[in-house]
Structure formats: structure tokens, C-alpha cells
Symmetry: C2
């Protein structure tokens, strides 16, 4: 507390952290900590799993990456704001369509501001039944 001022506690750019940031940069989609850990291994970089979790968590807290939970409940990460888009997923066959919508972007921003929030990112996921599956199930389940 009463110390040498508050230093921004800058994260030290260690080899491991750079590797993780890099892996994140390569990925275009949300990746689970384990995915990244695997990718790193394959790339020859040896990084402990705990470190991956720690770093990802720190980055999320710092607002450098967005977090999201996939259906399986795993936390997945993606670096902030690269070609930003959302997903429309079929709850039956899993088919996924990428969608963009400046309308939501604007709305999200406005709402956040209205409540005094800043530096806002958002996650939107639409889940429905795609045309094909709807046709297949045609027998109205209920």
C-alpha cells in the first residue's frame, strides 16, 4: 500500500507470455487454454499448463482478450476486437454461421455508456434451429 507509488505492475514480457500472445494472434477463433497449451507444444515452445491459465487470466483481467464459455463449459479466449463477429448456431446439428452486425455494436456501446461503463466488449450468441433441421424434425415434436 504505502510503497513506491503504484507502479502499473507491467507484466514482464517473458518468453512464455510472448509465445501465448503469439498463439492468440494466430488464432482467428476462441481457443481454450488447453488448445493453446497444445499448440504451443507443437510449435516447440514448452510452457506449463498452469502458466497458460495464469497468463490468459491476467490478460482477460487486463482487457486484452475476451473470454467466453463454450457449450462444454470450458473457458475460451480470443484477443480483443480482431474482425469482430458473432455466431448463429443450430441447436440440433451444430452448424454455425458467422454474422456481423453494426447494429448490435452500436447498441452495446450505447447501453454500456448509459450505465457508466467504459471499455466494453460484448458477446452475442444466437441459438436456433436451422432450416434443414427444422424440415427434418417436421413432425412437430409438440
Amino acid at each position: 500500500m504505502s510503497g513506491t507509488e503504484e507502479r502499473p505492475t507491467a507484466l514482464r514480457p517473458t518468453r512464455q507470455r510472448l509465445a501465448i500472445t503469439d498463439a492468440l494472434r494466430e488464432a482467428t477463433d476462441f481457443q481454450s487454454a488447453q488448445d493453446i497449451h497444445d499448440a504451443l507444444r507443437q510449435g516447440g515452445e514448452k510452457v506449463g499448463l498452469a502458466t497458460v491459465y495464469r497468463t490468459l487470466q491476467a490478460m482477460a483481467e487486463a482487457g486484452e482478450v475476451d473470454v467466453r464459455h463454450n457449450p462444454a463449459g470450458e473457458a475460451t479466449y480470443r484477443r480483443c476486437s480482431p474482425s469482430h463477429h458473432h455466431h448463429l448456431v443450430c441447436r440440433s446439428c451444430g452448424r454455425t454461421v458467422e454474422i456481423t452486425g453494426s447494429a448490435v455494436e452500436r447498441w452495446a456501446h450505447a447501453v454500456a455508456e448509459e450505465h457508466g461503463f467504459t471499455d466494453v466488449s460484448h458477446t452475442v450468441e444466437l441459438v436456433g434451429l436451422c432450416a434443414e433441421c427444422a424440415a427434418r424434425h417436421d413432425g412437430p415434436r409438440r
Copy 2:
């Protein structure tokens, strides 16, 4: 295998399932499986934890409830479309503000339809920094 045709496999309305549906109806917010299990116990209904998980899962699959993962990673459930709202969460202190926005609702519906999807539900989550936390960190990180 070659039996009496495919029967819709309707879920049997057992005491347990009714109790769960009921508990879900009472709740206005997202509840974890364990929350529901507890509530049920308190209400005098004895239901196994496994059953709660199973039922909730089945209902989610049937589209009767929405699933969401709280920051802790737990899956939480809420019956579909009761006063529908979303959350604006502070990434620093966790404070949560409920928000509603017919604009998003409309957008979601329109986009889904455009891609041939029906029976769509959506999840929107805004994550940002609330005014207080922003003030505390006042040192403009960047």
C-alpha cells in the same frame, strides 16, 4: 430395433421434473443446478442432484430453458423468455446490471430469419469497466 415406430419420447412428467420446472418458474434469475437442488430440498422436495442435472440438460436441449455460464464457470439456467433481459458485467468488480433492449431482440430475430433459422433464442453479455472501477484505476492504463 424394428419396433413400434418412433415415439416422440415425451418426457414423463414425474414429481421430480415438475418440481424442477416449478423451481425454475419461481426464480427470476439464472440458477445453477446446485442452487435448484438446494431450493428443492428446502421446499421439502427430495430430488437427487444427478436428476437435477439430467433434467436441466434435457430441458436445455429441448429449448425450454436458456443456459449461461457465470464467471465461476458454473452452468446456470433460466426458463425461456420470462421478462427477458441481459447483463452488463464489470470485468473488475463483477457488479452486474440487468438491461433490456428490444432493439437487440429485433435484430436477433431478423438476422436469424435471414439465415433460415427459427425458434431462436439469444445470449448477449456486455463486459466492461464500471464507473467506480474506472475511477479507481484512474491511471489511464493506455
